[in-house]
């Protein structure tokens, strides 16, 4: 009889990150709601790495070991976790929806003729049935999702869905070693690297004027630049603008670009897909201008204008100039 919550705790080069602990918090929450034990699983080459998370309130920690796990590859991770899931026979497998997890988790689930209930933002375990909420249509809508109930159920949670500091500490969990077989690894990774140092550091900017798809053409960027100049701010953009080559990539805000928290963030014609929101949601005052009243950017805006950015930009620029004298 499958039982328990298995949580995959991600580490990179021996270091655990915030999202790993968010996954622990999620698993503890689900375990408490269902009255089931939580087992943390770490993939490593030896048990010493797992000791670092022994302070969390979990039933036990399983160190899944094989020399091929030294460097991340989807082949090795899927093989190792498949064997761990079969050995531990949990009801739920919880992971953080990181770039690493989304690379191997569907492969792992496929080994069980399943898929992942992915990128969840909430869960509700009241009344026995667990309901997971996901963002769909680039954040415009939410969907409640249930699983068929047949274990193992694979879940990933979006970064920020749970708070890392809510992961409860315990008396010290035991670490068990689980050596596993890993099959052929068909990809050879080279060391990760950063592109040439970014010329623009937006993380120190007090005011950011960010443009999105609504700017429509490169020739209109001057209007946004004029507003940025009036406010004494820097120009930035969502991904599609940099993909189109209208602004250089070092102006991109979001999960694949820079993360910023200025005093004032003005989003012009940006709908607010999650990949953008994670890069700017901690800004002080957020202004959004968008034609679509349901654009997700308004969910986190302090001030919103539903309308055409081409009407707003020149008027706002003039008014700001007047106020600044």
């Amino acid at each position: 009889m499958p039982n328990g919550i298995l949580v995959f705790v991600e580490q990179r080069e021996g270091a655990f990150n915030k999202t790993s602990f968010e996954a622990v918090a999620a698993a503890q929450g689900l375990g408490a709601a269902l009255g089931q034990p939580v087992v943390a699983v770490v993939l490593s080459t030896d048990a010493a790495q797992a000791q670092e998370i022994a302070g969390f309130d979990v039933d036990k920690i399983v160190s899944v070991e094989n020399p091929k796990l030294n460097v991340y590859t989807p082949d090795a991770y899927a093989d190792a976790l498949e064997r761990a899931v079969r050995a531990l026979d949990p009801q739920y497998v919880i992971m953080a929806h990181t770039y690493l997890v989304r690379d191997f988790a569907p492969k792992l689930a496929a080994r069980f003729q399943k898929d992942v209930i992915s990128d969840c933002v909430r869960m509700n375990a009241e009344g026995g049935q667990v309901v997971f909420a996901r963002r769909i249509f680039l954040g415009k809508l939410d969907a409640d999702v249930v699983s068929s109930g047949e274990p193992p159920v694979f879940i990933t949670f979006q970064s920020g869905a749970f708070r890392a500091d809510q992961a409860k500490k315990g008396a010290g969990a035991q670490v068990e070693s689980l050596p596993v077989e890993v099959g052929d690894v068909r990809m050879q990774p080279e060391p990760p690297f950063q592109e040439v140092k970014q010329a623009v550091d937006l993380s120190k900017a007090d005011v950011i004027i960010a443009i999105g798809r609504g700017i429509k053409g490169q020739e209109h960027i001057a209007l946004a630049q004029a507003l940025a100049d009036a406010l004494g701010g820097d120009l930035a953009a969502s991904r599609p603008i940099c993909d189109a080559g209208w602004l250089p990539i070092d102006r991109q805000i979001g999960s694949s670009g820079q993360t910023v928290a200025p005093k004032l963030y003005v989003a012009l014609g940006i709908s607010g897909a999650i990949q953008h929101l994670v890069g700017m949601k901690n800004s002080g005052t957020i202004v959004a201008v968008n034609k679509d009243p349901e654009a997700p950017i308004f969910d986190i805006a302090d001030y919103g204008i539903v309308g055409d950015i081409f009407e707003v930009m020149p008027v706002l620029t003039e008014e700001v100039k007047k106020l600044k004298g």
Partner: protein, 257 residues
């Protein structure tokens, strides 16, 4: 080199979405559709690889008859032929079942490369490509931003978080999921549009046991997200008035001017 590109048709990004009566999906009736953004980039990259190394680009799309517009556009841009997997229940297919249907539809092709976008702009599962690779026994790489197919081995550059990247080497055949922005997308030319009319579109029925299998996950309710912040809406439909009010609020309330 034979490349298969999987392309999905999704709701237009600018479309105003309405929820259906049953609150289980959106109202599809009068919706305009377009190709999933990252799938468009996958096609572009496939066409560039073909131009460099020769071979064939086969586009495959699953869905009702309306996805023909995505297929025809891909053929006009330069794909050589197409496979249309007819499906009227695409929205309720979970990723594993969708991947099984696609695997059955394309496995005979014995492609050297299968490329698709990193995730769909509607359901956003971000899984179909990876599951398909496992079902076909292929190695995969996700969130690919550059492809080098000049050597015996394939080299792909993957995007990691926060401005980090990583190169992977792997054998062909392989499956890649492509990140938006990998290259600038071409427009279809008039010549391309005319040539597309003569290109083959093969219609295939989905394997029924996969298409009708009970899904591992099921959407029970679709709704607008709960607001987490109280937004002050300004201008009441008059954008210019809103801009003037905003300037004043930024000075007096937010104190950022």
């Amino acid at each position: 080199m034979k490349i298969i590109v999987l392309m999905k048709q999704v709701a237009n990004k600018d479309a105003i979405l309405r929820i259906n009566k049953e609150s289980t999906w959106i109202e599809e009736g009068d919706l305009s559709h377009e190709v999933n953004e990252s799938d468009g980039y996958a096609l572009e990259e496939a066409l560039r690889l073909k131009e460099k190394h020769g071979g064939e680009v086969v586009v495959c799309s699953m869905g009702p008859q309306r996805v023909k517009s995505v297929i025809k556009d891909a053929l006009a841009r330069g794909a050589d032929r197409a496979i249309h997997v007819i499906s009227d229940n695409l929205n309720t297919l979970a990723p594993f079942e969708a991947s099984r249907v696609l695997a059955e539809a394309i496995k005979e092709e014995q492609a050297d490369l299968i490329m698709t976008g990193l995730q769909s702009d509607d359901n956003g599962y971000a899984q179909t490509g990876v599951i398909l690779a496992d079902l076909l026994g292929l190695p995969h790489a996700t969130i690919v931003i550059e492809v080098d197919a000049s050597g015996e081995q394939l080299r792909v550059k993957r995007e990691l978080e926060s401005g980090w990247y990583q190169w992977y080497a792997m054998q062909k055949p392989a499956l890649l999921t492509i990140q938006s922005g990998i290259s600038q997308i071409r427009y279809a030319t008039l010549k391309g549009i005319m040539a597309a009319k003569k290109k083959e579109i093969k219609e295939v029925a989905p394997v029924t046991d996969a298409a009708n299998a009970p899904a591992h996950q099921r959407v029970t309710k679709v709704y607008f997200p709960l607001k987490t912040k109280q937004t002050q809406f300004l201008g009441d439909g008059d954008a210019k008035a809103g801009a003037a009010q905003l300037a004043e609020k930024l000075r007096s309330e937010a104190r950022v001017i």
